[in-house]
Symmetry: C2
Subunit: 320 residues, 2 copies
């Protein structure tokens, strides 16, 4: 039997799915679940759906009084204010959403919020390979691209709580237009699941890769999973998609290294399933774009934590 | 009469000039001087020249025993190790120079060293407009481009002491080749005095700006001061040099803002003499390249501290 207020809830809001977990003091996830983030474009309806999924689990553990808090990781989440602000990858109304207080009202449990990538960084620091590191960067490669930056042992939130939006840093000026921000050439336009899909569609349209397995699919069916599947089968177009993606990501990471000089960069999220197909060009490109003083020093590694766990655990750590 | 060990020496090593000052506990510069950084390519000879300039001032104050330390700001300076490593903008032998210990041997005073831009950031934090700021960036626009990044109230040194090399971040991939690193399109290739000169020479060669006042000068005579002087007279080519430089710098600053979300960015160094000719396009370009959540929030300002003072005072602050 758990004693009172010995549990927390960790929630990770991704552009596609929302995962949640009920977590004890040892960082053990006692119960977990998933809902779609995109079912509704109304934030209150979304919270109702989330409540319907989480509340039965809360009751199984003895009710809300057993929980000392809810920690939430969300794109464009603001740690200082508990808000989600102008999130390009969420379908809800734009502007400033007081998400933490909406959650608190609905669940009756104190709620805290940060950027989803910050939450993953906290997870890696508390439970993963970053345990003894004072300077590292977590890059999340999912529907979008996020980042959590740790320097001098602390997360960098910036003066307003919004630091770590590496996905929106311009990497190729005048390059691909971002589907949501309208910016030209940001990292997210290339190194996200969405970006990888667009690169494949561009390659198909270019006519330079005849005989690709993707040719039999209409564009709507093409996604990063399919591209990965075909790349594993040796499809030249799909392999080239990951090579080019890695090259662009490596350039962005080199810039980040020359800025904050981390000991390690962790890659995390769905695109990491591509393994060496992605990691090899990323590493080569990063080293090539560094001045000598930074070369062959930074550990570039996939996160050790299970895909959903880091985000849930990281978010949950906010709530203690 | 000063009591024992109540003074420090601050030294700022620039790509062109080295400035030094003898500083008391109140941050008052009691004596100052300048030597050329480029007279010799032998680091020990350089230290001899520096000694010949500084030692007489030390003796006037009562000798080395009155000084508790020497603080040095240098390009590619390493705070943790007291070394200058692979500095592209210094003519001395490449590789790792144990500069702080060489200074200590010569002067008989404990010596400490950091990146010149970090020293300027410390100066701005101790004596300038960043006094109450926890998150800001100092950009030095001199022979090269340096940066000092403060987050959560502390300088970011990174895991190895080399953080803050924004001048080497790629801003235009495949762009102008850096004269010393060989990298293509780093910020320093454009937004430094050297870069501004190269842009003007490119514009002249392009033949697009007939009748520029620069046309009567051979390339060797063209430098950022001359370009500034003619821009003030309304020379279209020279004005365009500052506009383009500002546009590129603004893009790089937008990327920095989305990374660490500072409250303010301070511009510092020789290029700042261009005033609004530079500031206006920098500001416009920075705002244009930010996603909405960061827009109209960051104070972009020239450093309040006198050109040489911030670097001397910042470096000297290392020595207390």
């Amino acid at each position: 039997m758990q004693s009172t207020k010995n549990l927390v809830i960790g929630i990770d809001i991704g552009g596609t799915n929302t995962v949640f977990g009920l977590v004890n003091k040892d960082g053990k996830i006692l119960s977990r679940g998933t809902i779609s983030t995109t079912t509704t474009s109304e934030v209150n309806e979304y919270i109702d759906l989330l409540y319907n999924a989480v509340q039965p689990e809360i009751m199984k553990m003895g009710g809300p009084e057993m929980f000392c808090g809810i920690g939430i990781g969300a794109p464009n989440g603001n740690f200082y204010k508990g808000t989600i602000e102008y999130a390009p990858n969420l379908k809800w109304q734009k502007g400033i959403i007081p998400f933490a207080s909406l959650m608190e009202q609905k669940f009756g449990i104190p709620s805290y919020l940060t950027n989803d990538a910050n939450a993953a960084a906290i997870g890696e620091m508390k439970y993963g390979a970053a345990k003894n590191m004072k300077d590292f960067i977590m890059i999340t490669l999912g529907t979008g691209v996020g980042s959590g930056i740790v320097a001098n042992g602390s997360l960098i939130y910036g003066h307003d709580g919004f630091a770590g939006e590496m996905g929106h840093m311009t990497v190729l000026p005048g390059g691909r237009k971002h589907w949501s921000t309208g910016a030209f050439g940001p990292l997210e336009a290339y190194a996200s699941a969405t970006g990888v899909r667009l690169t494949a569609i561009e390659f198909l349209a270019s006519g330079k890769f005849k005989g690709s397995l993707l040719e039999k699919h209409p564009n709507e069916e093409i996604n990063s999973k399919l591209i990965f599947e075909y790349a594993e089968k040796g499809d030249v177009l799909c392999l080239e998609v990951f090579r080019v993606t890695g090259e662009i990501l490596g350039l962005a990471l080199a810039n980040a290294v020359m800025f904050s000089s981390p000991e390690a960069i962790f890659l995390f999220g769905g695109l990491c399933d591509a393994g060496d197909m992605l990691m090899k060009p990323v590493k080569e490109s990063m080293e090539k774009n560094l001045i000598p003083v930074f070369q062959n020093k930074v550990h570039l590694i996939f996160s050790e934590l299970k895909q959903s766990d880091a985000a849930i655990l990281g978010a949950s750590a906010l709530a203690w």
